[in-house]
Symmetry: C2
């Protein structure tokens, strides 16, 4: 397969993108290609010192870059030659089987929606992230594509994220929780209540009911759905808190046992990696007729490599075919 | 002062409520009284073995209890003799100077709103919690009183939470952040954007701008405002995550250094206490003409004791007077 990487988007682009491509080489089949999309002169300069890059990497030129702070839709319109726009266009034309970017998330989501079709029957795409908790992986959707959610969006996020979690982690019949502010039915917003009614009627969803923020770490559900505003706040809170708690703990432990600093730091790194975005690599935009993997802006070599892994698994496990099948079934049931 | 405690509300009521009252005794002046509101027979039975309780504790009977799962407004209507309803009524009549409950939060908030007046000019009360991060305390408001926020509600939460943080932690001129999904102005919901416009015009608010979930641990702002749905998700996520991360770390460390289990657990407890709701005790409902401190349902003796401490500091620092003064000033400026 041909996997496009937006080589200009991330905070450390193109260095980490190129290093990530090399790290990902072991994941590739012989015919697979990484296509770096970006400024050709910059990329050639960086690749000059990399022996054998031509064996598995291609360069596709894109003259422009969308900055992290730019307004997504305006930037896409004014920069048709940006790496994100060019990459999405290539994916649409079938020149790529998947693409990934650590650049402006909003612009990548908008490019995917504008250039690629949605899967048949999908109302709105959503970003799903798999958080590896001590009680097992939990897929959280949406974490930032859609801040104006309607009940049917949350309903479909539950279906799509369940398929994705099964494909990547082998979690069959995912238990779905609706993120709210109390377990009781009466708690929450109108959105939550109406989404719950929709999901209760759907036999393909094993609905746990309302869940709370703390349930993310309690093995209560396998998939958690929420609107993109709440999901994005949750995602970034987890990132900040893991760092905060772990650093605090290392400090207290080292002060108490200065002779064991090395082992303390080592153990802490083991835990930190569980909450490290570079470990999971990237989050797919579910519901798009394509494979678009969104990486953290601060992704390093590992983050890019693991995003390539996610893209390959997404393709091998035919996640999109399975989503289409499930949505077709839901439609047939509704019409029966 | 006379501090009412809903003796029937928490998960371990009335045991932890009574133990908390005894722990709080050292915080009280000679004339101060704790008034336990609840079923008299139950309370007398529990107090029978406690020497000298009559010296600082009074019992005020309330025949009914509102359960954690009951719908707040319906329960208040159908149970006028519930401990929460009776306690709020006593506070209204001036028989209490402050009250606290670890029971049904929604019912306590509703009772406060229905029985006590709002402070003059306040649109909607909000619950403020102070989270002790490594970068200093951050007041988060609202964490669950108001899930249908309007921009002017968030604006007032910023003002009220700043006063509260200053009163309790001595943080003068709090830097205010608006919880959103990106630092750029274009990011976020309509609510966030309109609230930002309101706050920008208010010279009494030192607005940092949009902040993200991770900024809670980065010393970026002292006060963070959001709607009660998002705030409640954040609050419970922090609670669950602290437990999850710390347990995971203890497990890895003990496996690596089995001889040092005691010191590892001790250091971990030091950190855990930073995120332990029992340490901060309770969260005030800001904007109410009274002092209503909301405790976690699982509050233990320490939690109740620290909630008494919060109630006393709230009164001593004249938080409500300072809020009224600030809102009056805002009104005068708006009319000038």
């Amino acid at each position: 397969m041909r996997i496009g990487i937006d080589a200009m988007g991330g905070d450390s682009a193109p260095v980490e993108e190129i290093r990530g491509a090399f790290s990902a080489r072991t994941l590739l089949d012989e015919d697979d290609r990484i296509v770096l999309v970006g400024r050709e002169d910059v990329l050639r300069e960086h690749l000059a010192s990399c022996d054998g890059w031509e064996d598995f990497i291609e360069i596709h030129p894109a003259a422009d870059v969308i900055g992290m702070d730019e307004s997504p839709v305006e930037a896409l319109r004014s920069k048709p030659d940006s790496s994100i726009a060019v990459m999405a266009e290539m994916h649409k034309r079938g020149e790529l089987d998947a693409c990934l970017s650590a650049g402006n998330t909003g612009a990548f989501v908008a490019a995917a929606q504008m250039r690629l079709r949605r899967l048949r029957g999908v109302h709105r795409p959503g970003i799903a992230i798999i958080t590896p908790t001590h009680a097992g992986p939990v897929a959280l959707c949406d974490v930032g594509a859609n801040v104006q959610c309607r009940p049917q969006h949350l309903h479909q996020y539950a279906l799509m994220a369940s398929v994705y979690l099964d494909a990547l982690c082998g979690v069959d019949k995912a238990r779905v929780g609706l993120l709210s502010i109390g377990e009781e039915d009466a708690k929450g917003t109108d959105l939550v209540k109406r989404a719950r009614d929709l999901m209760r009627e759907d036999r393909d969803i094993e609905l746990v009911g309302n869940v709370e923020g703390r349930d993310l770490f309690r093995g209560v559900c396998d998939v958690m759905v929420c609107d993109g505003f709440v999901g994005n706040v949750v995602l970034k809170l987890m990132e900040g808190m893991a760092v905060g708690v772990i650093h605090g703990l290392i400090g207290e432990l080292v002060a108490s046992m200065p002779d064991h600093e090395g082992r303390i730091v080592q153990a802490a790194e083991g835990i930190a990696s569980k909450y490290d975005f570079n470990e999971y690599g990237g989050a797919p935009l579910l519901g798009i007729a394509g494979i678009c993997i969104i990486c953290h802006g601060a992704s390093d070599q590992r983050g890019i490599m693991n995003a390539v892994r996610v893209a390959r698994e997404f393709a091998e496990q035919k996640v999109n075919d399975r989503i289409i099948e499930l949505l077709n079934k839901a439609r047939r049931t509704a019409h029966a």
